[in-house]
């Protein structure tokens, strides 16, 4: 109600384009109610999950494997699998994402053709449905790369790498989270003042030395933000790992790169629908 009229016409006889004053109280009320409705949805979902979920969390639940055909016991293998997946994914995605951002920002001008093409590719990568990533992981990583390794180095009687495995899930997921890392690294690179780089060059440093000693240390907080956002995304997506490595139930924890694994999101899906 406070900011309805700020400016009044000085003279009434001057015909203004804005003669009829609508105070805007109706649109304000309508848009405020949509904000309240969205926040209510968010609050309801969070409250429902916490209210129903808090009671079941115990040390046993977090530290034990599922028992009795997954009807009792805990979710430890799923937590372990998710952590392992996210760790492998981060190791794969951070160097590539950071180097892409460096290339776009430090080596190429923002108007050059190749920058534009790579940017379009990044934007499109970010919008590809996650299920398509799952299909790609199955067709490319498992079928093409894994199958290729099998036929080259193994006798091919049974699949060693050409089967669902945690490494393929992690690589699929790292492609999915690549745009997130690139974009937040770029944000960080943008904030580094040109003077610092110029000073470094003036001292005789090369481009690579400047990147290593000046740019990367300064961009580190942004890179970490990117890593956290990527982990947030990677830990929550289920569709890309359904065919590339996640298992309903495993009696053991994954300990090799070509093991299958249990994952929390997939565990939710399995428990909710089976």
């Amino acid at each position: 109600m406070t900011q309805t009229t700020i400016q009044k016409p000085v003279q009434k006889d001057i015909t203004s384009h804005f003669t009829k004053k609508s105070s805007g109280i109706i649109p304000k009320t309508i848009t405020l109610s949509s904000v309240i409705f969205i926040l209510a949805i968010l609050g309801f979902i969070l409250a429902d999950i916490i209210y129903n979920g808090a009671g079941t969390i115990s040390w046993d639940f977090l530290s034990l494997p599922p028992e009795n055909g997954m009807e009792s016991g805990g979710i430890f293998p799923a937590i372990f699998g998710t952590a392992a997946l996210v760790l492998l994914m981060t190791v794969a995605v951070i160097p590539v994402g950071v180097m892409t951002a460096l290339y776009l920002h430090e080596y190429r001008s923002s108007t050059s053709k190749i920058t534009r093409i790579i940017r379009i590719a990044i934007n499109n990568l970010a919008s590809i449905p996650s299920i398509v990533f799952g299909l790609f992981g199955l067709g490319f990583f498992i079928g093409f790369i894994g199958g290729g390794i099998d036929s080259m180095f193994y006798d091919g009687s049974r699949p060693v790498w050409g089967q669902p495995a945690i490494i393929w899930s992690a690589l699929t997921m790292s492609l999915l989270t690549l745009p997130v890392v690139i974009i937040s690294t770029e944000e960080a690179l943008r904030t580094i003042p040109q003077e610092m780089k110029d000073a470094s060059y003036a001292l005789g440093a090369t481009k690579l030395q400047t990147i290593r000693k000046i740019i990367l240390p300064q961009a580190m907080p942004g890179i970490l933000t990117g890593a956290i956002l990527a982990i947030n995304r990677g830990a929550g997506e289920v569709a890309p790992i359904m065919f590339t490595g996640a298992a309903y139930y495993l009696p053991y924890l994954p300990h090799k790169l070509n093991d299958q694994f249990m994952e929390m999101g997939y565990h939710i899906f399995v428990m909710a629908t089976q």
Partner: protein
């Protein structure tokens, strides 16, 4: 005097370093191309392989298919029967229904929220609203799907008395919750990036705050809001886990939004695990993936073009 010593320059290391960084920069581009190639490659047998074409062709996916000799022809998706049929129509209808409901739910809320946050809210209020709404996008889709399956479906059934607990409306609303933050964020960005000079000019002409918003800011930001809606629609069509869990997964041709539905994405997710590598069914599922890929590619590119043009226009006016 302390001397800052850089190590001796090596031109070879410098050259290799740049090349190494450049190679990594092309991974994103290569990934998009590889995804395109590999999804289509697996769908290709539909067009030339006799064995696959014996079971299904592009034509068979589009026209009506007979159940058995002498029975009425129908559109049906029954890949696992003795006489497998792969009509795309039921899936198309399901995808369309879920996205329509999602957009009807998310557009008013997302745009309304963006207008309030950018035009009416005080600075402190805005700093609370924006991250709170964007938190919605941090909820994993499998959790939203779970919520829709267990909680939302019961609430809606009690309210409207649906015959089927899991239906297009339930899945659509859950999808809408996932789409709201996309529409909100992009519209809000567009609204706040309208230059002050434009607003000042309107204020100087005697407009009050709401008149500035409604006659200057909103029209100037309209392309950005449209882009938000377009990109939100792309997300709604491609989203998998929510519809897989909350839609009932029944491929039905009907006009009612209270019926169960099945979407393209959910079909891939639920059937790919059991399918035989290289079979006709396998090729059809990759074909569905290709359609999804192409669709989101077009949607996303057009949304991006609108946003880039808007940015140029608004910055040019400064």
């Amino acid at each position: 005097m302390k001397k800052y010593n850089f190590k001796k320059k090596s031109k070879i290391a410098e050259f290799l370093g740049e090349k190494f960084i450049a190679v990594n920069a092309y991974i994103a581009l290569a990934a998009v191309l590889l995804i395109f190639i590999f999804i289509f490659k697996e769908a290709l047998p539909l067009f030339y392989d006799d064995y696959v074409q014996d079971e299904v062709t592009l034509k068979k996916m589009i026209v009506k298919q007979p159940f058995a000799e002498g029975r009425e022809a129908k559109f049906s998706w029954q890949p696992n029967s003795d006489n497998p049929r792969y009509s795309l129509l039921p899936l198309f209808i399901g995808t369309l229904k879920a996205s329509i409901i999602a957009m009807l739910f998310a557009i008013p809320l997302g745009i309304g929220g963006a207008i309030y946050s950018s035009q009416f809210a005080s600075k402190r209020m805005r700093e609370f609203i924006k991250p709170a709404i964007e938190m919605l996008s941090g909820i994993p889709s499998v959790v939203l799907g779970f919520f829709a399956l267990i909680v939302l479906a019961s609430i809606l059934q009690n309210l409207f008395g649906f015959t089927y607990r899991l239906n297009a409306i339930n899945a659509g609303i859950a999808l809408g919750i996932a789409v709201i933050p996309i529409i909100f964020t992009i519209s809000e960005d567009a609204l706040t990036s309208v230059p002050e000079s434009l607003k000042d000019a309107a204020l100087a002409l005697g407009a009050n705050q709401w008149q500035v918003s409604s006659t200057v800011t909103l029209p100037a930001a309209m392309p950005g809001i449209a882009a938000g809606v377009i990109l939100g629609f792309g997300r709604a069509v491609g989203e998998t886990m929510i519809v897989l869990m909350a839609s009932g997964n029944a491929a039905i041709v009907s006009a009612s939004f209270a019926d169960s539905i099945r979407t393209f994405s959910a079909t891939i997710a639920s059937e790919l695990a059991e399918v035989v590598f290289g079979s006709a069914h396998y090729a059809v599922l990759f074909f569905l993936g290709s359609l999804l890929f192409l669709f989101t590619f077009i949607i996303n590119t057009s949304g991006d073009i609108i946003l880039i043009k808007l940015k140029e226009k608004l910055q040019g006016g400064r």
